[in-house]
């Protein structure tokens, strides 16, 4: 019988070692199928053998796995199963790995050790019967250099990077880049100015996430600008923190801003302070601070969860100008309902470019717009193609 894999006779190991000559003669004297230990029950002609059996290193993975594929033979009884066994040549001591139902036709063996050569054997079994085995070519698992299943993501990333670098290069060359007005960012100076006039403090809340959250990093960049303005105007700044890493970063940024503005005398260590690591304890503390001290301007910029509405509503009740910013749509409605200005989604990330007007940063915003246009075009193309029955189009964008 011809199958995709090797028959057991073909799979017999080559023994060349002189001291094992006697054993070799013994092996040659025995039937070919005896090269490897047999299972119970013995092969039966009543069950056909699977075909096209192949064992390969599982592609795109970090090693430790072998992918087995085969085609089920026709005419298997209802209670049939496919038995999978493994051996390490030249020993050929077959060990059961798994038993799968017909129809699966693939198995990912994840107990393999990288660099160890294995042979796999499959056969159909049913009740007391066992069909003839089919043995794979030798295979060894390894860790791969490229995750081919993420090629689409890789292309998109490379394309976006290229657009970004070209846009930055163009911005550096002096090309004028239009940037639309963002009311929330324009209102920052106005809010701080008002706080200065009435002699009340500016409260800046950088969200409750750590510095591994990109919204927090964006928030800290905006804090840098806010601190420079408060230093310039001589307004009091208060930055309560929930996350310790954010606290350390915020403190460094505020200190640098006061130094950069030439007002280190106005900087106090307690401006940036740590409150607690608990979400609702932090919320209670900051809400109480709002109620007691009644800041004139409140910034709620960063990543917020359930506390967003509690903080924003409390701030609203104190009559402060409130500017919020968040990229996550789940909390945005609360900010829109309760704050005077809200930075929605990408506006949060555009803030540093908008506020500093540095050409390089503006260039990156242009790249962002180009990428957005490409995404919109791909979306329209998807609508058209899917409407005309090309339903596999969305698969181009699937990643694993």
């Amino acid at each position: 019988m011809r199958t995709g894999g090797l028959s057991r006779a073909q799979a017999r190991p080559t023994l060349v070692a002189a001291p094992l000559l006697a054993l070799l003669l013994q092996l040659l004297a025995r039937p070919a199928s005896a090269a490897a230990p047999e299972t119970t029950p013995p092969p039966s002609a009543e069950l056909p053998a699977p075909t096209s059996f192949a064992a390969i290193d599982r592609p795109s993975d970090g090693g430790g796995a072998v992918l087995l594929t085969w085609k089920d033979p026709p005419g298997l009884p209802a209670d049939a199963a496919i038995q999978i066994r493994r051996a390490v040549p030249p020993a050929y001591e077959w060990a059961d790995i798994a038993t799968v139902k017909p129809g699966v036709q693939r198995y990912e063996e994840t107990t393999a050790k990288d660099g160890v050569v294995y042979r796999y054997e499959i056969r159909a079994t049913a009740a007391t019967l066992a069909g003839p085995p089919v043995v794979s070519d030798p295979v060894a698992s390894r860790d791969n250099w490229f995750a081919a299943n993420r090629t689409n993501s890789f292309i998109a990333t490379a394309l976006f990077l290229a657009i970004l670098l070209v846009s930055i290069a163009m911005a550096k060359s002096g090309k004028n880049i239009f940037i639309r007005r963002i009311a929330g960012l324009n209102a920052i100076d106005e809010a701080i100015g008002r706080a200065t006039e009435v002699g009340k403090k500016v409260l800046y809340i950088p969200g409750i996430q750590s510095m591994d959250e990109i919204q927090t990093i964006a928030s800290i960049s905006i804090l840098s600008h806010v601190a420079r303005v408060t230093a310039r105007y001589g307004a009091d700044l208060d930055v309560p923190n929930k996350d310790p890493l954010t606290f350390v970063s915020a403190r460094e940024v505020v200190r640098s801003a006061y130094l950069a503005e030439g007002r280190p005398d106005l900087y106090r260590e307690e401006m940036v302070n740590y409150v607690t690591y608990d979400q609702f304890a932090y919320t209670a503390a900051v809400s109480a601070r709002m109620t007691r001290e009644k800041p004139a301007a409140i910034f709620l910029i960063g990543y917020f969860f359930a506390e967003s509405l509690i903080l924003a509503e409390t701030g609203q009740s104190t009559g402060a100008i409130q500017i919020a910013g968040q990229a996550d749509p789940t909390q945005l409605p609360f900010f829109v309902a309760t704050c005077d200005y809200t930075l929605i989604g990408e506006e949060l990330y555009a803030a540093s470019a908008y506020l500093t007007r540095e050409p390089i940063l503006l260039g990156s915003m242009r790249a962002q717009d180009i990428a957005k246009a490409i995404v919109i075009l791909l979306g329209i193309l998807g609508i058209i193609l899917t409407s005309f029955g090309l339903v596999s189009y969305p698969n181009l964008f699937k990643t694993q």
Binding site: W145, P244, R255, D328, F334, G345, E358
Partner: protein, 266 residues
């Protein structure tokens, strides 16, 4: 000692390189400012590479990527210590100077020292912080169960009232957009709350009609949530994702420096 590549590379990138940078910084301050940018570059590029390169030294269980996450936890642990010191400093200063609201600081410091002390004592004595060997709870757990959790739940429960007041303000029909919001809000609430069945309950002849109307409202609610609302959310998410990707690349390349307090141009 296991000198695997990923581990050695991490130590070189995030321990040796910054120390060398700081040392060089004593002679050249401009160079010292670049140190964090190098660290940010490698910290940013490693997770991206691990997404496309499944090699074990990079993405394996003991590879650079998971180790980087572990290092973040260690660094955060030290930062938390700084945070606690800051809380104690601010609290004691307020109490010593009798600043406005100083009694709150007394409560805060008392809670911090008692709870923290019991937690540390539980850890040092080997009893743990949750339950004693005889199965009963530790004093630390008692405080958590009887003070901390009820207070936490209380603050969370306030959300319901804040939601009502925010909805009242948001749903005032001042202009066309607010009116659309109001109508959509009423429809969604009606579809999510079985109000019609409740009102029709005392009148059996009206119940089938109420059930039918409720079902129709439910479908309308689903349509509003999935189609106009879903489309708007997708737009925000796509824009935000591109913004985040753009910002991430700016951070990795050292273009965006505001988060380090190095931003200029103002």
């Amino acid at each position: 000692m296991n000198f695997e590549f990923g581990r050695v590379a991490l130590v070189v990138l995030f321990a040796v390189l910054p120390v060398v940078g700081i040392a060089l910084g004593f002679f050249a301050p401009a160079l010292r400012a670049r140190g964090p940018l190098f660290v940010a570059f490698f910290a940013g590029i490693i997770p991206i590479l691990s997404l496309y390169i499944p090699k074990r030294f990079l993405s394996g269980e003991a590879g650079m990527r998971p180790r980087l996450d572990q290092w973040l936890i260690i660094v955060a642990g030290f930062a938390l210590l700084l945070g606690i010191v800051n809380v104690i400093q601010n609290g004691t200063r307020k109490v010593a100077r009798r600043e406005k609201g100083w009694p709150y600081s007394v409560v805060l410091l008392t809670g911090l020292f008692i709870t923290g002390g019991l937690g540390i004592w539980g850890a040092i004595s080997g009893q743990g912080i949750t339950s004693l060997p005889n199965g009963s709870g530790t004093p630390f757990k008692w405080i958590a169960d009887n003070f901390f959790l009820p207070l936490q739940a209380t603050i969370f429960a306030l959300l319901a009232f804040f939601m009502a007041s925010a909805a009242f303000r948001a749903f005032r029909a001042r202009n066309t957009e607010a009116t659309i919001l109001l109508v959509a809000g009423i429809l969604v609430m009606s579809g999510r709350v079985p109000l019609l069945e409740f009102l029709a309950a005392p009148f059996p002849p009206l119940q089938p009609a109420a059930a039918g109307a409720s079902q129709a409202l439910g479908k309308l609610t689903e349509w509003i949530m999935q189609t106009p609302n879903g489309a708007a959310q997708s737009g925000i998410i796509i824009g935000a994702a591109l913004g985040a990707a753009s910002m991430a690349i700016r951070l990795i390349l050292g273009i965006e420096k505001g988060y380090l307090g190095l931003g200029g141009g103002e």
